[in-house]
């Protein structure tokens, strides 16, 4: 990269906010995505304001240099890897919560605010921001909006896109758009806010977000239902919804996952169970208790071997700690852990789980499955070794089949993690050629020179 460009970056954001040494650039060549290509950027800049972001974007555009916007770098689809080198734009210095509006129930934040920081701040006012991806303690809101994060509360409370009311973005040409706002309803112009949510940094750089908040539910009850038969677990999920109970959380863990977590944490999980469901109902106390009662009866009626109800906050914490331990436990088994999020309609979950088991046997790869059974977003997790090329061949074939199967069941390639680099090659399977062309037209209208996160979503220019 020309020295003049780097000098200009230093002039814009200040010397302390620019990294140019190879050793530092190395630390931005990756993100949390396993089995992915790494690439050193030419420079890392950490702007402190929207004004500085605009100047950096204009500089990049003028010189045809790629920009890779990055928050915590915890995504799982290669979204922040600077594959074509250029500028990594770190949002982490823009980490202020600008406002919490208790009357309008909104929060306005800079993109580098970590989700947990927002949760802590709004909980002081008895408020909640529901989308809670597994990485709440490290992921930033900018990244979370760019990927449209899901989380455990998706079934009842929705996902990130249901909570973004407005945003300010910088386009590739340096123009700033202020979109949406605090009004509950807004149909002015095209719904550009929705366009940018989940656009994975390829259409704009997000510099401010206005989020919707809800009151913290007054009461919650958690329980675990143990099943020796997968179909019974599946029926239970179906029956709960059919009985018009929408739990806040409805998670599943398969036998491989149960055994792995038990081995790691030794908390007394039923290692012979074919599946466990972890369920939480919440709301006004009387309503929550009533729903909890219904759920218990359904579990019993559908043949649950055992139902454990958390009697207090401590037991509730232990129950959810088991679910949160799923991924940390699985990563200990083998050197490489590939977490997929092929999602199917809720009704097809039992078929998908059975198919995953067949795929695991067919390609002789280890797969542990857990996830958001209530909304169909499973996380088949492949445990393997990047350095074993024979096994990786089989793993890649297995992944191909997982996606093919999910689509066949009327599902989608990604419920939460995004396309990025990891799933770009499968995109046409789901969207078809016309779908990809339509997206490309939008991309080229907003970023004709492909400077924003190039190499993601679209396979080639």
């Amino acid at each position: 990269m020309f020295k003049e460009v780097i000098d200009e970056c230093i002039r814009i954001v200040g010397q302390e906010c620019v990294l140019t040494e190879k050793e530092d650039l190395l630390c931005y060549s990756y993100d949390a995505t396993p089995d992915s290509e790494l690439m050193l950027p030419d420079v890392v800049v950490a702007p402190n304001s929207r004004k500085e972001v605009v100047e950096i974007v204009k500089l990049a555009n003028k010189n045809n240099i790629p920009i890779y916007t990055r928050g915590g770098g915890t995504n799982l689809s290669g979204g922040t890897i600077p594959v074509q080198k250029g500028i990594v734009l770190s949002t982490l210095n823009m980490n202020k919560i600008l406002e919490i509006d208790r009357e309008n129930l909104t929060a306005t934040v800079e993109p580098g605010v970590v989700i947990q920081t927002l949760l802590d701040a709004v909980s002081e006012f008895g408020l909640l921001y529901p989308p809670d991806p597994g990485t709440v303690q490290t992921a930033t809101l900018g990244g979370s909006v760019a990927e449209c994060s899901g989380g455990l509360r998706g079934l009842k409370y929705g996902v990130t896109k249901d909570y973004v009311m407005g945003m300010e973005v910088v386009l590739a040409d340096g123009n700033v758009l202020k979109l949406g706002g605090k009004t509950v309803k807004n149909v002015t112009g095209y719904d550009l806010v929705s366009l940018f949510i989940g656009s994975e940094g390829t259409l704009a750089v997000i510099t401010e977000i206005t989020l919707k908040l809800i009151p913290i539910p007054e009461y919650r009850q958690s329980m675990m239902a143990v099943f020796m038969d997968l179909d019974k677990a599946a029926n239970t999920i179906r029956e709960i919804i059919a009985n018009k109970v929408i739990p806040a959380t409805l998670e599943i863990m398969d036998n491989v996952t149960i055994r792995t977590v038990e081995n790691y944490k030794k908390i007394g999980l039923p290692i012979d169970a074919e599946a466990i469901l972890l369920i939480e109902v919440d709301g006004v106390k009387e309503a929550a208790l009533k729903e909890g009662q219904i759920v218990q009866e359904i579990c019993k009626h559908c043949g649950a071997e055992e139902i454990r109800i958390a009697a207090n906050d401590v037991e509730r914490e232990e129950l959810w700690a088991a679910r949160r331990a799923a991924l940390p436990a699985l990563v200990r088994i083998k050197p490489t852990t590939i977490l997929e999020d092929a999602t199917v309609p809720r009704s097809r979950i039992p078929e998908m789980i059975k198919k995953l088991r067949e795929i695991s046997l067919k390609y002789d790869v280890m797969i542990g499955t857990f996830g958001h059974a209530g909304d169909g977003n499973l996380h088949p997790t492949i445990l393997t070794d990047e350095n074993d090329s024979d096994e990786m061949d089989r793993v890649h074939q297995a992944i191909d089949e997982i996606f093919a199967e999910a689509l066949k069941l009327g599902g989608t390639l990604s419920g939460e993690h995004g396309i990025g680099m990891a799933k770009a090659k499968y995109l046409e399977w789901e969207m078809g050629r016309p779908g990809i062309e339509a997206m490309r037209k939008i991309k080229e209208a907003l970023d004709p020179r492909y400077i924003l996160n190039p190499g993601k979503i679209f396979i080639n220019k």
Partner: protein, 386 residues
Amino acid sequence: MKEMEFYQDMAQKCVRCGNCQYYCPTFTATRMEPYVARGRLELIKASMDSRRQEHSDTFLRRINQCLLCGNCSQNCPPGIETEKIIEAMRAECARTKGVSAALASVSNNIEKVGNITGDARENRLLWLKNVEGLATGVKINESAEYAYFAGCVPTLYPSAYSIPQAFLKILKASELSFTILGEEEDCCGYPLAIGGLPDKARMVARKNIDRLKSLGIKKVLTTCASCYHMYSAYYPELLGEELGLEVIHSTQLLAELLSAGKLKTKKVDRIVTYHDPCDLGRKSNLFAQPRSIMMNLEGLSLREMKHNGADARCCGGGGNLEMSDPVLSGKVAQERVKEAVNTGAGTIVTACQQCKRTLQTGARQLKARIKVIDICELVQEALDEG
């Protein structure tokens, strides 16, 4: 202390999840990836794989900017002990390119005069001579049941004198049989061991243990959390033998004396918070003793910080960071002081003079109105001398 070779496989286990970002004090202070375990491990991996990362100046600088606090390790999904890997890499770099000028100077001082500053040995007694009557009846380098190993900072930095002075007053009031080591004390070797010079640390370890044994000492006391951790965790490994003596931190002794009613104390009217030193808490599992002391002081109100006990965030004084990068150390200290201020307490109590110094620096930089004292000073203040 294992070599880098031993940790190669462990370093490869990093799946780059980034969870460490939440727990790392230097990441919190900088918001930059080269300052967190994931980034440091990537550098280390790159030095061992086809990327052929050299032990460049920048490489060494980044490796030296870790606090070695171990908070990341206890929350790492694949269980990587990053602080141990970094310590091993420091030793490797010491072999391939030497150490920083600051550490070389400290090492030189320790070799020549047995302390980190280069002071004449007799300066180690200035804190004792400084207070009228304090030295009366105090054994120096004699046989006794306990030996008080005061350490370099409390004896050679005047601003830290108040800690050994307070502890000595308590020891005299307790009527225990003790000696201090005075001029004959050598640095415990901590900055050498964690800085990549284990062989030099071994030399002072040998000297210190031999000296204690020659005096027939069975119990060594210290007010410094790092000296405690050095003696109890590093010495047996460095020397390849059981020490044959008990290592006791001041908080353990004081907790015992207070609950056995061996010290008369008066009411203390203070609202305090407690900062767990990494070397005493997370690394040595001594959380209950300081809290027991404070519970036994009537009138004292303890308010815990958001991150306390095993989750306590490093004050910025660990890992030789103050030596390598005082600016970064100050930023880390400021974050910890903010947590303390948020409790509403007027005083931070801690149990390590390094933590006390670093937190005082942070408080000063923040212009925060909060005092920092060592727990020995708190207890001495409460002693009923009537």
